[in-house]
Amino acid sequence: MSRNQPRTNGTDAESTNGAVTGSPSNQSEASLTGEGLVLTYPSGDSPIIDDETITAEPGAVTALVGPNGSGKSTLLKGLANQLTPEAGSVLLDGQDIQTLDTKAIARKLGLLSQESTSPNSITVEDLVYHGRYPHRGFFDSVTEEDEAAVERAIDLAGCGHLRDREVGSLSGGQKQLAWIAMVLAQDTDVLLLDEPTTFLDLHHQLEVMEIIETLRDESDITIVVVLHDIEQAARLADRMVALKDGEIQARGQPEDVVTERLLADVFEIEAEVSVTPHGPRINPIRARHDGDEHAVDDDSTGAERPEEVVAE
């Protein structure tokens, strides 16, 4: 929806967001903001994400990109309340997520984790019905609303032909569609997806991308997606956020974020970027190593880029 909007940097987006949270009656476009997040794994001592602020633009797709170990999945876990921040807070529709009931969160915010396990012998349909968990009380049986939501989710994820199959008998791509259907059945305003296309064949990658596009075009759902593939992210997202070493290095519209300089700084590759109707196209040339022309690049670092960009 927002491809044609003027470019917004982080601060602008937050103020836009403030306007949305000011009217809580507006159910359709949910806001999700992480403010000053410091995220540390229970087993580790130094924070993975140190004092970062991120806003998911309401009703749009925000893609998190970055090299391995840049903290993009960690940031997503923090936003999804899977990881309790040491400092800072996550605001879901303006409310601190820590103060909300777990089921209330799950009715508004869905998360598809990177690796999901299930018993092999349950059917796809049963799996999708589990998505209704936050909407059901302890003694509640299935309501018509549940059935409708499950039908919608299965239809949207395009796994109707799989509904009676056992999850254990599916291919990796089919499994992913089933899991997506489960998260969709949760019927949330905010959807967080952690590398939904990784390890899938091209056909299923495109299917997953199409599901996300449909969600963006036909509903007001707010999506944050971690993607490994920058090109894919640029093609899919309304806004991109690039991370490196746990710090946000750039944010904005794909064509502004995906630049040769950013690829050099954040991904440490030399690449050519050309603009096509399907978004920026990246032609990787070679990997950069420590010291390669860095001095030159750093001199020309843009004002909005922090100084920490320099690779060690």
Partner: protein, 391 residues
């Protein structure tokens, strides 16, 4: 259950829908289990010091004079007669049940109903408690080797049994209560040890192993101080599980807890299913994983404790029955728990036939038979099923 529909026809169609949704394999399993319980029960009531034919036993079991006599049921299930005079006066409820003895009945009926049938019923209750408890612990710990005793329940109960028999012999009338309390306390200790900003299945299992080892050593040490062979035999009967000498009193002791535990388990099956999706998914679906895990463990410990109180520590039923049922109906806990409620009693009653009659007149603890029968069957399942152990 909350249902949006109110119309009778709608309810009827829903019931039909539910029936058609019932799995054929689950139905078959339940019917077969009921058959085994009936056959085992019939053998149990026919044979013994006073032998009677199967037909006589059958007639005694279905003696209409007993079956439809409210007085008899009051004496058997409540241990006395309900005093209707004080029913509406809560202040006098301590005299609600007054002593009463069984009315006159034939000798066969008396033997069957008063002596032999309660043992079968206790077996049924113990079997379903252990099977369901094991099924719950297998989901909670996400571990296919989990049994009702994985979180230290058996070692705590065993230690308390030995302590009571050897050291505090004056308390032996309270043994059932002490044993099940010991099991529950051991479970809480395990949970406390495993807790560090929450638990995880692996931490729970490891803590269970540690507590079991320590308590097991103490229990063995206790045997060393037992100076009477009678006490040792009694201790072995309690720690391997035995239905010898069980009476209506045991039925009365276990029945209420069993009803509560089974009811909660059946209602919790959806929670168990979601727990099987893994901690991350369960959490993202809005489940308070720690709370649910603790509550479900509590239900499972309640079931295990109820069975320990009346039969001691019967091994193997809780490990093997969930596997058997899973092999037949799959890992959906909505079916699995129901299957366990039926298959547990079948295995328990069947094993008790062997325990009571195999070496007649000597009775061996039923726990020995469940181990002897269950072990090889477990091996058979393991060799036959490629995916054995997958939850």
């Amino acid at each position: 259950m909350v249902s949006r529909s109110t119309g009778v026809t709608d309810a009827w169609s829903r019931a039909l829908n539910w029936l058609s949704g019932v799995d054929a394999s689950l139905l078959g399993l339940c019917l077969a289990s009921i058959g085994v319980v009936f056959a085992g029960g019939l053998v149990q009531v026919s044979f013994g010091a006073y032998s009677m034919t199967i037909v006589e036993a059958w007639q005694a079991v279905f003696d209409p004079q007993v079956l439809f006599d409210l007085e008899v049921w009051q004496v058997l299930l409540l241990g006395g007669q309900v005093n209707t005079d004080v029913l509406l006066n809560p202040l006098a409820w301590d005299s609600l049940i007054v002593d009463a003895s069984l009315p006159e009945m034939s000798k066969q009926s008396l033997i069957v109903w008063n002596i032999r049938l309660p043992r079968v019923l206790v077996g049924v209750l113990v079997g379903m408690n252990l099977a369901v408890s094991g099924a719950i612990f297998q989901a909670v710990t996400r571990n296919e080797l989990a049994s009702p005793f994985i979180l230290g329940v058996s070692s705590g109960a065993g230690l308390m049994i030995l302590l009571t028999l050897v050291v505090f012999s004056g308390l032996s009338t309270l043994l059932p209560l002490i044993a099940s309390t010991g099991g529950a306390v051991a479970f809480l200790i395990v949970y406390a040890i495993a807790w560090k900003n929450g638990t995880s299945p692996v931490r729970l299992v490891l803590a269970g192993v540690i507590v079991s080892t320590v308590f097991g050593s103490l229990q063995t040490a206790m045997f060393f101080f037992a100076d009477d062979i009678g006490i040792v035999q009694s201790a072995i009967a309690w720690t391997t599980g035995s239905l010898t000498g069980t009476d209506w009193e045991q039925v009365r002791m276990a029945l209420p807890w069993t009803v509560v535990a089974m009811g909660l388990s059946l209602f919790s099956s959806r929670q168990l299913n979601v727990l099987l999706l893994g901690e991350n998914t369960a959490k993202s679906l809005g489940m308070s994983v720690e709370k649910v895990r603790f509550a479900l463990s509590g239900v499972a410990v309640l079931a295990a404790s109820a069975s320990i109180a009346v039969a001691g520590i019967v091994g193997f039923i809780g490990l093997i029955v969930p596997h058997m049922v899973r092999n037949i109906v799959g890992s959906d806990y909505r079916k699995l728990v129901v299957g366990c409620v039926f298959a547990g009693p079948a295995l328990m009653v069947g094993a008790d036939v062997g325990a009571r009659l195999a070496l007649n007149p000597t009775q061996i603890p039923v726990g020995i038979v469940t181990g002897l029968v269950g072990g090889p069957y477990f091996l058979y399942l393991m060799r036959k099923q490629q995916q054995m152990g997958e939850i």
